[in-house]
């Protein structure tokens, strides 16, 4: 709050309202300076902040993973004791799922959905800013547990009696539960925001079937988020009431059934894993056609199979509970339903391969990550089918085979997709091309490291090594080719290579930031709408909102197809298209103004959470902050009046601030 004290100079100047000393002015709207980041509502700045924070948590999660692998490299490991190991794998999973992949999905969705559908910003810009700050404070709150008595140590799914007050006495689980509530609120508000943007603010002429595939997949993901988040909110509330206020929800002595937690968690859990993978499907469905120089094979099939995965995803959650005694009828039903989900996934893999078929493939780093995703995700998907078969799942569940499955699907799938997206869209976001030379090192080390780390885990799993085992002994490791000792060591070495591979990405970012060449306007000769803007795009994205005639509109404006000979001629370049859009520029562009209230409201949430754990008065103060934030927000118009801005913006900026 920029409360400015009364100037000491003699106030003989007649105080006219516009030049008066103001309080609670809207924050400054210039492009740079830390204030333009702290109070921004611009979807591009928020997307970059989401991405940067997610990458930071990726490093944190990665270090936790390397520590786990060091502990398991040799028999009777001394690196971590049992309690620290339990905290490490719990926080590794929670950080990777909730604080890296989900925010990275939000980063790409926030940045590129408005650009791909031809909008100037998301539907509710201030809610978008609140989403990011709530996520950031939730992530920090979650990791505060490390310093306040030990992090959560019950596994990322926190099964019922073990997460209760008797068996997890430390505050770790409370921090976990409340931290996820806060990031949950962030995801829910983000979901409402992006669905309204996609359904309501598309460019004229862009029907649903002319939308780019990434926007399609991101929209399915937002629907999954919209309906999955409340379920885990219920589960986390029940757990919090049990731990802090003496409820008996999971107390077996009162007649409770511990499986209630498993059901509530996995009803959220399974749509959650599709939330993690579908955006990466969307990204490589954008990257593959561009570097194969031909459109995506079977666009409607890819779109409907994405929606089918999202829909059927709601009917399979109990395949995580085949061994927890559901009774044969339920097990059989969910086993068949889980197999049914493999069909749409198969359709996607077929379509990607067909996109490559007959193309003119350029193996840029983005393309390499995309192709690696097809193969590695297929390996993970097929190992998934092997334990969709319930009886063999009773042999494989909770062993390292499952760890191998979901790492092939999550690392090989989601993270390779994210890296492909970063290399592909880096020029769009930052105006510079990431160096291909360092990129190749990054790709190959990650690909080899990933296979060396998670490949042997198939073997460890089938040799009966359970998950979450903090130690293994020489006596029970076996001798033959498939013994536990050798493959645990290989996996640990692989994880080091993987870490080095990821390090090369950050080197690439630093090198490019300092010495990278300025990227041309259309470096990859791309196809979709987001490339019809400057690199990086202006604050209002499009000078004039393009009317969309075809799918891959940008390609159709650049190339004309001669129907007889089928030969494709280039008619105009990206520069001409952009110049033309600049010529008939929209006169009045009303961009939403930055605001204090999102960060104030987001700050209230961790204060309440802190109060709930330690002292109720602090929670009441937090509640007061939230109430102040809500009503301050409600009273403030989304686009500020001119004199509301502090200092009053100069009227001559190219974007007319509506007075």
């Amino acid at each position: 709050m920029a409360i400015i004290e009364r100037p000491s100079a003699p106030a003989t100047v007649p105080a006219i309202p516009s030049a008066s000393l103001g309080a609670l002015k809207r924050p400054v709207t210039t492009q740079h300076g830390w204030r333009s980041w702290l109070f921004t509502v611009d979807h591009k700045k928020l997307g970059i902040m989401y991405g940067a924070t997610a990458l930071f948590f990726f490093v944190v999660g990665g270090l936790e993973a390397v520590l786990i692998r060091l502990q398991l490299a040799l028999p009777d490991g001394r690196v971590l004791n049992a309690d620290l190991y339990n905290q490490m794998f719990t926080m590794h999973a929670t950080t990777m799922v909730f604080l890296f992949v989900m925010p990275m999905v939000s980063a790409f969705a926030n940045y590129f959905i408005p650009l791909q559908v031809g909008a100037r910003d998301v539907a509710f810009p201030r809610i978008n800013a609140f989403g990011f700050w709530a996520f950031l404070f939730g992530g920090i709150f979650l990791n505060l547990a490390w310093f306040l008595g030990g992090a959560a140590d019950g596994g990322w799914f926190m099964y019922a009696p073990n997460s209760g007050p008797v068996f997890s006495p430390s505050h770790g689980v409370d921090f976990w539960a409340l931290g996820l509530q806060i990031t949950g609120i962030a995801s829910l508000t983000g979901a409402v925001n992006l669905i309204v943007t996609v359904l309501n603010m598309r460019a004229p002429g862009m029907s649903l079937m002319k939308m780019p595939v990434f926007t399609w997949m991101a929209t399915v993901v937002q629907f999954l988020l919209l309906f999955a988040m409340p379920v885990i909110t219920v589960a986390l509330f029940l757990l919090m009431f049990q731990r802090n206020f003496g409820a008996t929800f999971f107390d077996v002595a009162a007649g409770a059934d511990p499986l209630l937690w498993q059901h509530l968690f996995w009803i959220f859990g399974h749509p959650e894993v599709y939330i993690l993978i579908l955006p990466s499907f969307g990204i490589i469905s954008e990257v593959l056609p561009v570097f194969s120089r031909k459109p995506l094979f079977g666009y409607p099939f890819v779109v409907f199979s994405g929606a089918a995965i999202g829909f059927v995803g709601w009917g399979v959650w109990a395949h995580h509970m085949f061994a927890s005694g559901l009774g044969p009828v339920s097990v059989a039903v969910f086993s068949v339903a889980t197999m049914a989900i493999a069909v749409p996934t198969g359709v996607k893999v077929v379509n990607w391969t067909m996109t490559l078929w007959g193309g003119k493939l350029q193996f840029t780093v983005a393309m390499k990550f995309a192709i690696a995703l097809i193969v590695l995700f297929t390996v993970g998907g097929l190992s998934g089918v092997t334990h969709a078969v319930a009886p063999s799942d009773t042999q494989q569940t909770d062993t390292y085979y499952i760890v191998a499955h979901f790492h092939y699907v999550l690392f090989g799938g989601a993270i390779f997709g994210i890296f492909s997206g970063m290399y592909y869209w880096w020029p769009k976001m930052f105006g510079k091309l990431l160096s291909e030379r360092i990129g190749n090192w990054n790709f190959w080390l990650m690909a080899i490291g990933m296979n060396l780390t998670f490949g042997p885990m198939h073997i460890l799993g089938l040799q009966g090594q359970p998950r979450r085992m903090y130690i293994w002994t020489e006596a029970r490791a076996g001798e033959g080719f498939f013994n536990l000792a050798f493959w645990n060591l290989v996996a640990s070495i692989g994880s080091i290579i993987l870490a080095v591979g990821v390090l090369f990405f950050f080197i690439n970012v630093l090198v490019t930031a300092r010495r990278g060449a300025q990227a041309p306007l259309d470096p990859w000769d791309a196809r979709s709408l987001e490339w019809m803007t400057s690199n990086p795009p202006k604050e209002h994205n499009f000078d004039s909102i393009p009317t969309v005639g075809h799918l891959d509109e940008f390609f159709h404006r650049k190339y004309a197809e001669d129907h007889q000979s089928g030969e494709i001629r280039k008619v105009q370049g990206a520069e001409e298209i952009l110049a033309e859009m600049e010529r008939n520029k929209d006169a009045h562009i009303h961009m939403p103004s930055p605001s204090y209230w999102p960060i104030v409201l987001a700050l209230g949430l961790p204060v309440i959470a802190f109060g709930l754990i330690y002292s109720i008065p602090v929670a009441i103060v937090g509640g007061l902050i939230v109430v102040l934030g809500c009503f301050g927000w409600a009273i403030e118009p989304s686009t500020a009046r001119d004199e509301d801005v502090d200092p009053p913006a100069a009227p001559s900026t190219e974007v007319v601030r509506h007075g």
Binding site: L199, F223, F227, V231, L259, L264, I267, G327, S330
Partner: protein
């Protein structure tokens, strides 16, 4: 009640709302009567039907879902039926519905 529809662009007149409210009050009274009068085997279905009727009346008239664009109905009913389907399946694994 049908003549009400075309009457006003933005939903119904105040009198129309009061009439809907009276119908809802009547159904609630009927519901409460199931506590005093024994309906025998008809008890459960009757209550369920009355609940659903009240629910849809409030949603379609008081919340204008009947007069608004279809996309609102799709969004709301998607969430509602998803909730019913998922939680019914979960409760059935707890042997809730087996006699």
């Amino acid at each position: 009640m049908t003549e009400q529809h075309a009457h006003e662009e933005h939903g119904m007149s105040n009198a129309g709302y009061v009439r809907i409210a009276l119908i809802l009050a009547a159904i609630t009274a009927l519901e409460v009567s199931t506590y005093y009068v024994d309906f025998g085997p008809l008890f459960m279905p009757a209550l369920m039907v009355m609940m659903v009727v009240k629910f849809t009346m409030v949603v379609s008239y008081f919340m204008h879902l009947k007069f608004d664009k279809r996309v609102f109905s799709v969004m709301f009913y998607a969430g509602l039926f998803l909730a019913i389907f998922v939680y019914a399946a979960a409760l059935s694994t707890f042997k809730f519905f087996i006699a």
